[in-house]
């Protein structure tokens, strides 16, 4: 009789845990829905005079100019914003998990500033203002370079979180001062262009860019999910993760490489977009808890929602000006983040 009672309790425990995970699943679906709703809204608003009804009609039928605007201008922008948010959110969650540091983000490892330096090189030496692909290529080269440097140092010195963070911070300072140095050499026009690049912009997003950055952001996804459970273990310390059979340094190096690729896919095409990579995982963690199986998709969705709403607001609130995306993401990300930070009370987060 006693045993029966225990079994019931036992079932209870498991079911409670599963209920918690189902809740997360439902929340994920809800966020997916929110993202879709915002995407539809984003498709319906803009600087042109076409009406919301026309915009919606344009999605399903050919109504001339409206269709062209919705399909050729707004849709690529919306997709790109979602992609970038997904890329930055996911890579931020990965960095925080494998570096076991809540302050880690793509920028902690100097990836943002190395991309920036690449862009500055392209603008100053390779006519990046006209030749946009020069900027993309150089930004990409330098993100790769900085992640190789970090991985190289880690190989040599041991892939601990501390080694990587310190290397990353050193690289961040190196590349930002190199950028400043080149700006010092730049002409008036170039400096202008550099400033704009650092603000970030989605105006140049076209289908070609979407395909390229889509590959860089989405291709590593399955691998990242593959390691999600390992990330859980790694947040509890390298030693115990190792004792449980996780190849800690291997997983860490590979995930850093993958997350860097995602980051560069996100920022090379659009410029440095604020702190989505830091904030999206934290917002996700406050809502979903720290289980990376849910945290990673949640960070991706929240990142997407944040970037998309920031861009939509940025291009509509002060018509016809566009408030640079990098600025708006901070404007809406920070208050939301602070609100959650103050409000969170739940025991299991």
């Amino acid at each position: 009789m006693n045993t029966d009672c225990l079994t019931i309790k036992n079932q209870d425990m498991k079911n409670q845990y599963k209920a918690l995970k189902y809740r997360s699943l439902v929340l994920l679906a809800a966020f997916f829905l929110i993202a879709s709703v915002i995407a539809v809204i984003a498709l319906c608003v803009g600087a042109s005079s076409i009406s919301v009804t026309d915009s919606i009609l344009a999605l399903i039928e050919d109504n001339g100019m409206a269709r062209s605007i919705v399909w050729n201008l707004r849709l690529p922008r919306v997709i790109m914003a979602l992609l970038i948010g997904i890329g930055l959110g996911t890579s931020g969650a990965v960095f925080q998990a494998v570096l076991r540091n809540p302050l880690a983000s793509p920028f902690t490892l100097g990836i943002g500033s190395s991309a920036g330096f690449g862009a500055v090189i392209a603008i100053v030496f390779f006519n990046g203002l006209v030749n946009e692909y020069a900027v993309v290529i150089w930004a990409f080269i330098f993100t790769l370079l900085s992640s190789f440097l970090i991985l190289g140092v880690s190989r040599y010195k041991g892939a601990t979180a501390e080694t990587m963070i310190l290397t990353g911070i050193a690289l961040m300072f190196l590349f930002s001062s190199l950028s400043s140095f080149l700006q010092y050499l730049g002409t008036k026009e170039e400096v202008h262009g550099i400033v704009f690049w650092f603000f970030g912009s989605l105006s140049k997003a076209g289908y070609r860019e979407i395909v390229m950055s889509g590959i860089m952001i989405l291709a590593p996804m399955p691998f990242v999910f593959r390691f999600a459970f390992d990330f859980n273990l790694m947040t509890a310390g390298d030693e115990s993760a190792g004792a449980l059979g996780v190849n800690v340094s291997g997983v860490r190096m590979l995930s850093i490489a993958l997350a860097s690729l995602m980051t560069s896919g996100a920022i090379c095409f659009t410029g440095v977009i604020g702190f989505i990579g830091l904030v999206a995982p934290h917002i996700a963690r406050m809502i979903f808890g720290s289980d990376n199986l849910f945290l990673i998709p949640a960070s991706a969705l929240i990142g997407g929602v944040l970037v998309l709403s920031a861009d939509t607001l940025g291009r509509t609130v002060w018509l016809p000006h566009v408030i640079p995306i990098g600025i708006v993401t901070s404007f809406i990300g920070v208050p939301f983040f602070l609100y959650l930070l103050i409000k969170k009370t739940k025991e299991y987060w």
Partner: protein
């Protein structure tokens, strides 16, 4: 006796003292030298107003100028004041062919970050810089040396003639300055007076160096558009350089599009390929085929050499001709450019400065 004193080890402090005394004497002499020289001459000071709106009293005659940007350097050449240029901005090498005769001058740092020590070494009377770059720290650093910083922009069409007169006055080339300023005004007026009868001005989208960044009021590009008789799409903007969406440009349906690029120097270009490529890329942006300007081949790419700056008048002439091909059929911007280079700059006319005109006007 002195030798004895100096060689004896005991008197080492004395030797040190003597040396430092001599050294400080030298420094004082060195620093006060310009001052004493001025005291010797009977100098007169003139008061001018610079781009900041500050009244500045400049001692005449000016005996050396350090130039922090290409615009001023070009104007000084028009005023035949090459010999006064003691030092130049470091990026001059980018315009090496155009400014060949200045390449031997010492460099003093960049247009927005000049090195006060290098400037002080050259000991000029004045430094000429843009209104906002470098910051006012330059004045603070240079005032102990008696070097004045003059802020002249030379990139706003409305004030350029005035600034030419100010500059020519302080370097004692008033006659040359008057000729230049008058020529400038005349060319601009010749274009301006044609617009008296124009009621509806064509809509113009002006894109500055970065893609999807337009030139609004307060920018040189906006002034040029207005002087060329265009109605700038961005004429009610509050920000000089604002990012805009592709969608907005399309929905505004501009009749003409101008884009400027700063890459290389038009002076060294042999053909229009580069400009044409940029123009084609612009026209090929998604859905831009819906814009009248693109449909009619009225997208034009201009070199930064004739965009704002001292040669803005040439840019304006090109733009006016692009906006009103019939009305300015007789206007030959290249002739104005040739006049400018050969008569004022005293260099041979060469280079390509604008993309090929597809709308059927003159080349």
């Amino acid at each position: 006796m002195l030798r004895l004193l100096l060689s004896s080890k005991e008197f080492y402090p004395v030797r040190f003292f003597l040396a430092s005394f001599l050294l400080s004497g030298l420094i004082i002499l060195n620093v006060s030298a310009p001052g004493t020289a001025w005291a010797g001459d009977v100098t007169q000071a003139i008061v001018i107003e610079d781009a900041f709106g500050r009244k500045i009293s400049v001692n005449m005659p000016v005996q050396g100028i350090v130039v922090l940007n290409s615009d001023v350097l070009e104007v000084l050449r028009s005023l035949r004041a090459q010999d006064l240029v003691k030092g130049v901005y470091s990026e001059i090498d980018k315009d090496g062919v155009f400014f060949q005769e200045f390449l031997d001058r010492p460099r003093v740092g960049s247009w927005k970050n000049a090195n006060a020590e290098l400037i002080a070494d050259l000991n000029p009377s004045i430094v000429i810089a843009y209104e906002n770059n470098p910051g006012t720290e330059l004045e603070k650093q240079l005032s102990p040396f008696g070097i004045q910083v003059l802020r002249l922009n030379f990139y706003k069409l409305g004030t350029i003639a005035k600034e030419i007169r100010i500059l020519s006055k302080i370097i004692g080339r008033e006659q040359q300055g008057e000729i230049f300023a008058a020529w400038y005004g005349k060319k601009l007026d010749a274009i301006q007076k044609r617009f008296d009868y124009i009621k509806e001005k064509p809509l113009v989208y002006v894109e500055s160096y970065s893609a999807f960044h337009t030139a609004g009021p307060g920018s040189g590009g906006h002034d040029m558009c207005v002087y060329a008789g265009g109605k700038n799409l961005a004429d009610e903007f509050k920000v000089p350089y604002s990012e805009i969406t592709s969608e907005w440009v399309i929905s505004k349906q501009p009749d003409v599009i101008f884009k400027t690029i700063a890459w290389g120097n038009g002076f060294e270009r042999k053909d229009r390929v580069f400009f044409n490529n940029v123009r084609n890329e612009l026209a090929a942006r998604p859905s831009w085929n819906l814009i009248p300007a693109v449909k009619k081949g009225r997208v034009h790419v201009l070199d930064s050499g004739i965009w704002t700056g001292p040669r803005a008048v040439i840019g304006v002439a090109h733009m006016a001709k692009c906006i009103y091909p019939q009305m300015f059929d007789g206007l030959d911007p290249e002739q104005i450019h040739k006049e400018y280079l050969e008569f004022f700059q005293k260099i041979p006319y060469q280079g390509v400065y604008i993309s090929e005109n597809l709308s059927g006007g003159a080349k």
